[in-house]
Point group: C2
Chain length 306, copies 2
C-alpha cells in the first residue's frame, strides 16, 4: 500500500501509540513513524523493542516535517504538549489526539494550533488494562470504533485523509460533536470505570473479608471488575477531572437506580428485580451481534494453574 502519510509523529508511547505504530507497520501506512516520550526510560524501552522507525528525545524533533502528529498523552497534559510543539509544526500538517474526553482537549489544544495546521480531535474506543510501550499490538483497533470530532470549518481533505488512515489501521469511523462524545463516553466508559474502581476499593478495604479471600474467590464475578480497575491511574484521573459534568450526571442516574434496586431487595420485591435483570440481557445480545464482544462463556478466557 502507498503510505497515507509520509511522516507520522507519535507523542507519548503508551498502549495507543505503540498499537498505532504496529498497525501502521502492518499496513505500510506511513513512510516513517517518529516517536517520543517524556521519560527517558520509556524512550529506551521503545528503542530496545523496535517501537517506531526512529525515537527522538524531544517533541520538537518529533514533529519536525511530520504531516501527521498524534498526541497520545494523558488528557491533563495535552495543552502543555500542544504549546510545546506549536512552533515546530509543518505548514499543512494535521494534528490529532487520542484522548478519552473531547471538550477539555479541544479547549486546551486548539488555541495553540497555528494557522495552516489542521487540528482534528479523535478517540479510538479500544484499549486493554495494560499500559506502556510494551503493551501495544497491531490488532488493537480491528473492528473497533474510532470517533472523529471535527470542528466547524475543518478541511475536508485533511479529514478524509485521517479517516483513511484510521480505517486502514482496522477501525470503523464515525463523526460526532464533542458534547455528545463526552456524554456517550461517560456512559460506555467513564462511569463503568469509576464504578469498577470503587467496587475493588471497597473489597480491598473490608476488615471482615481478607484480601486473600477476595483474591481466591474472585471468580464469582468480582475479577471482571479488577481488570477494568487495573487501568492506568494517571490517564483515568485526568479523564474524570476533565469530563466532570457528564460523568457526574451518569453517576447520579446510577445511584438513583441502585437505590431503587436496594429498596426492592429490602422490601422483598422480587418482581422488580426479575424484570430489571431480564431487560439488561437484550443489550448484551446487541453487543455480541454487533461484533463488539465474544459470546464465548467468560469471554473465552483461559486461566491455568501454575
Amino acid at each position: 500500500m502507498t503510505p497515507i502519510y509520509d511522516r507520522v509523529a507519535l507523542i507519548g508511547l503508551g498502549l495507543i501509540a505503540s498499537s498505532m505504530f504496529w498497525a501502521m507497520k502492518r499496513g505500510g501506512l506511513a513512510g516513517e513513524v517518529v516517536g517520543t516520550a517524556r521519560s527517558e526510560d520509556t524512550r529506551k524501552i521503545a528503542r530496545d523493542i523496535g517501537l517506531c522507525d526512529r525515537i527522538v528525545d524531544t517533541t520538537a524533533e518529533a514533529v519536525e516535517g511530520a504531516d501527521l502528529v498524534v498526541l497520545c498523552v494523558p488528557v491533563g497534559v495535552m495543552g502543555a504538549v500542544a504549546e510545546e510543539i506549536a512552533p515546530h509544526l509543518a505548514p499543512g500538517a494535521t494534528v490529532t489526539d487520542v484522548g478519552s474526553v473531547k471538550q477539555a482537549v479541544i479547549e486546551a489544544v486548539a488555541p495553540h494550533i497555528p494557522e495552516g495546521v489542521h487540528f482534528i480531535p479523535s478517540h479510538p474506543l479500544a484499549g486493554t488494562e495494560h499500559s506502556g510501550p510494551r503493551s501495544g499490538f497491531a490488532e488493537l483497533f480491528d473492528n473497533r470504533w474510532w470517533l472523529l470530532v471535527p470542528q466547524d470549518g475543518t478541511d475536508v481533505d485533511a479529514l478524509n485523509r485521517l479517516r483513511t488512515l484510521l480505517e486502514a489501521m482496522g477501525s470503523n469511523t464515525e463523526q460526532m460533536d464533542f458534547e455528545h462524545h463526552d456524554l456517550v463516553l461517560a456512559v460506555t466508559s467513564h462511569a463503568p470505570h469509576l464504578i469498577a474502581y470503587t467496587m475493588v476499593g471497597v473489597a480491598d478495604d473490608l476488615r471482615r473479608v481478607t484480601d486473600s479471600e477476595v483474591i481466591k474467590y474472585s471468580a464469582a464475578g468480582f475479577r471482571d471488575f479488577t481488570r477494568i480497575a487495573a487501568s492506568d491511574p494517571v490517564m483515568w484521573r485526568d479523564v474524570f477531572l476533565s469530563n466532570k459534568e457528564a460523568t457526574l450526571e451518569i453517576l447520579g442516574r446510577f445511584t438513583e437506580e441502585l437505590f431503587a434496586l436496594q429498596r426492592a431487595i429490602r422490601t422483598g420485591d422480587g418482581e422488580h428485580l426479575h424484570d430489571y435483570f431480564t431487560r439488561t440481557r437484550a443489550i448484551r445480545r446487541g453487543i455480541i451481534e454487533a461484533g463488539q464482544d465474544t459470546d464465548a462463556p467468560n469471554f473465552g478466557r483461559v486461566t491455568k494453574k501454575e
Copy 2:
C-alpha cells in the same frame, strides 16, 4: 477411577448441574448420574444432548437409591424441593446444594432432611453468563474454589467423600461457616452483580444516548458489565432476596466510597483519585498470581467481525 458415588441425582439441569455431569463423566466419578428438571422442555433437551445417564420426570424417581443428591435449583425453591424429596431419600445418602447463599438455604432445607441422611451445603465459585442444560462443560470447575459449609455434627466420612468428588471434578475446596460465606460472596459476587445490572440498566434507559450507540461503543469498558448482567435473572433475584443483609451492607459501603470519589471529581482532587486508582491494581495482580484470571489483555477474548 473407581466411582466415588454409585448413583448421583442432579435436581435441576442448568449450568452447574450440566457441568457437574460432564465433569463426573470425564473422571468416571459416578456409577450412574440421574437427572431431572421441573420443565419438560429442559428434560427433553437433556435427553437429546445425552446429558446424564438417565433423565427422569420426577424428583422422587431421581433420588431413589442415590447415595448423593445435588440440589441445583434457584435458592428460592430449595426448601420446596427438599420437602418433596425427603420421603424418598435413601438412608445414609448425602444431600448437598450448589446455592450462592448458604444461611437461607440451610434454614429452608435442613428441617426437611430425615435422620440418617447427611446434609452438607456447598457452593462452587464457578460459572459463566450462560444458563440452561446446554451451557455446561467439563472444565467449569477446574482450579475454581468449591466451598463446603458443613454444620455442627456433620459426619466426617460423608464430608470427606463429598470433598473427594469435588476435587476429582477439578475444584479446590475450603470450609467456611455460613455467615462468613454469605459475607464473602456479597463482596466477591452479589454486590458486583447488582452493580453491573444497575449500570447496564442506566445505559439502556438514557434518552440522550441511544441503545445502538451504547452497543456500538461498548468496547470502551461497558461491555464487561453486560456479560455479568446477562446472568440468569431468576437465580439472581433469589440470591439478592435471600442474602439481603450482607448484600445491603456491602452496597452501603460501596455508595459511601462512590460518593467520596464523586466528591473528589467535583472538587478536582486529583491526588485522591490517583491514589485510589493505584491501590486497586494490587488486587488484580493477586488474582492473576493466584491463577484465578488470565493476564492476557481484555481476557484474551477474540471478537470477530461477521
